[in-house]
């Protein structure tokens, strides 16, 4: 108990970094995922190929490898990113691929009949997209979107390996000095659990707001 009290300020600072990383990365990944999904759905053939290659690479290469590549290789290319900016960039790029799949899947799930209906009442393509397709896609996208957000929060723990003092990093550093893995990692895990559960609750709220019956 004493140990936990003594570690609390450090862990809190680590948690703040984790929250900051998560929020920024979720925001960026969502924005980029939306753009990429639209590019893949409605872009030209060249754009679609580029996005497809990007998705393929991210699907097949571990996040940790991409983080290491950024950490070790970018300085040689003359790009000096500090670990925080680099970590945010890599995590956002990585999860943007998952977000792309979420949004693309949601848009494709809206049946073709909805398009026909929109045309039949004389709507233009952009209006059909914004007023009919995207509205329905949003409902389909909400649950997998929240799941991906939770993956982002969990994924931020990997920045500890490249030396960023997030929750996991602080926890491990304390354990190495105090040899109290159960207490410390227990608290660390609990903190992640709370973060992710808050996200799922927010997600459920979002789902109710988006549902037809209100």
């Amino acid at each position: 108990m004493h140990l936990l009290l003594a570690s609390a300020p450090l862990l809190a600072r680590g948690a703040a970094t984790t929250v900051y990383l998560s929020v920024v990365a979720i925001f960026l990944a969502t924005a980029l995922g939306l753009v990429l999904a639209l590019a893949q759905l409605y872009g030209g053939i060249l754009l679609r190929i580029v996005v497809e290659v990007y998705l393929y690479v991210v699907r097949g290469v571990p996040l940790l490898v991409l983080l290491f590549a950024m950490y070790y290789a970018l300085p040689y290319a003359g790009i000096a990113l500090d670990p925080l900016a680099g970590g945010i960039a890599v995590i956002s790029l990585y999860f943007a691929a998952f977000m792309t799949e979420v949004f693309r899947g949601a848009v494709l799930s809206v049946s073709a009949g909805q398009w026909d209906a929109g045309r039949a009442i004389g709507l233009t393509t952009p209006r059909i997209l914004t007023d009919i397709v995207f509205r329905q896609a949003l409902r389909v996208a909400a649950p997998p979107f929240i799941n991906t957000c939770i993956m982002v929060v969990k994924g931020t723990s990997l920045v500890s390996i490249i030396g960023l003092a997030d929750l996991t990093y602080v926890g491990k550093a304390i354990v190495e000095r105090t040899l109290a893995p159960f207490e410390i990692f227990g608290v660390v895990a609990l903190a992640y659990l709370v973060l992710c559960l808050v996200l799922s609750r927010l997600g459920r709220l979002l789902e109710t707001r988006l549902s037809y019956v209100s």
Partner: protein
């Protein structure tokens, strides 16, 4: 900056060693996750409220905490308890605990997706509940979950890279050692990425074969 292709052929043997360990970790991790998920899904769907509650809590906890933290918890925790596990065992355990929960959810989704009517038809034919489940519901459910299992397997293969943090000399670990010793980091990480892409592609292709095999025609 120039990319030295000859260098890649020189580092390939070192990476290949790591590849062996990655495969040796990924295969049991995938198989054991698929196996461990069976008692978990039974627990999730159990009639006993208590069992269902406890299993659901387990799934909730592991799915909402990073596998890296679980790995550290098991690795450092086992040391303090007096039976230190190797990094390999700790990584395998963490991967199975986490992914078993995800796979259990996949199984549950598969079982639920088999229409209620199919089960009713089985019962109408005079099959027992158990038999209906075993020869009507389960065979259809298994077919439906193969693509999701394939995705989960790919995530497991990628997550084996985290074993590098508990000193398992797998692919990523070896690549990092090489990167610490040489300046040819582009070549190293490029080759490393190719190795993972090849692994996941081979796995995905195998799963597609299985999917085609079990498809209902």
């Amino acid at each position: 900056m120039s990319v030295d292709l000859g260098f890649i052929t020189r580092i390939a043997p070192t990476l290949a060693q790591g590849l062996g360990t990655t495969v040796a970790l990924a295969i049991p991790a995938i198989l054991l996750s698929a196996l461990w998920a069976i008692p978990v899904v039974v627990g999730l769907m159990a009639r006993s409220r208590l069992v269902a509650r406890i299993t659901a809590d387990y799934v909730e906890v592991v799915r909402n905490t990073p596998v890296l933290v679980q790995m550290f918890f098991i690795f450092f925790g086992s040391g303090v308890l007096g039976f230190p596990l190797s990094g390999f065992t700790a990584a395998l355990l963490a991967l199975v605990l986490q992914n078993g929960a995800y796979v259990a959810e996949i199984y549950r989704g598969g079982i639920r997706s088999v229409a209620q009517r199919q089960a009713e038809a089985g019962l109408a034919l005079g099959l027992t509940k158990r038999k209906t489940f075993a020869i009507v519901v389960l065979p259809q459910a298994i077919r439906k979950v193969v693509p999701s299992l394939s995705n989960q397997g790919i995530l497991i293969i990628k997550d084996t890279s985290l074993a590098a943090t508990v000193s398992v000399a797998e692919l990523t670990f070896q690549a990092r050692l090489l990167a610490d010793r040489t300046a040819a980091v582009f070549e190293i990480f490029f080759t490393l990425a190719l190795f993972y892409l090849a692994l996941t592609a081979i796995f995905a292709a195998t799963m597609r074969l299985i999917e085609r095999r079990v498809r209902i025609t």
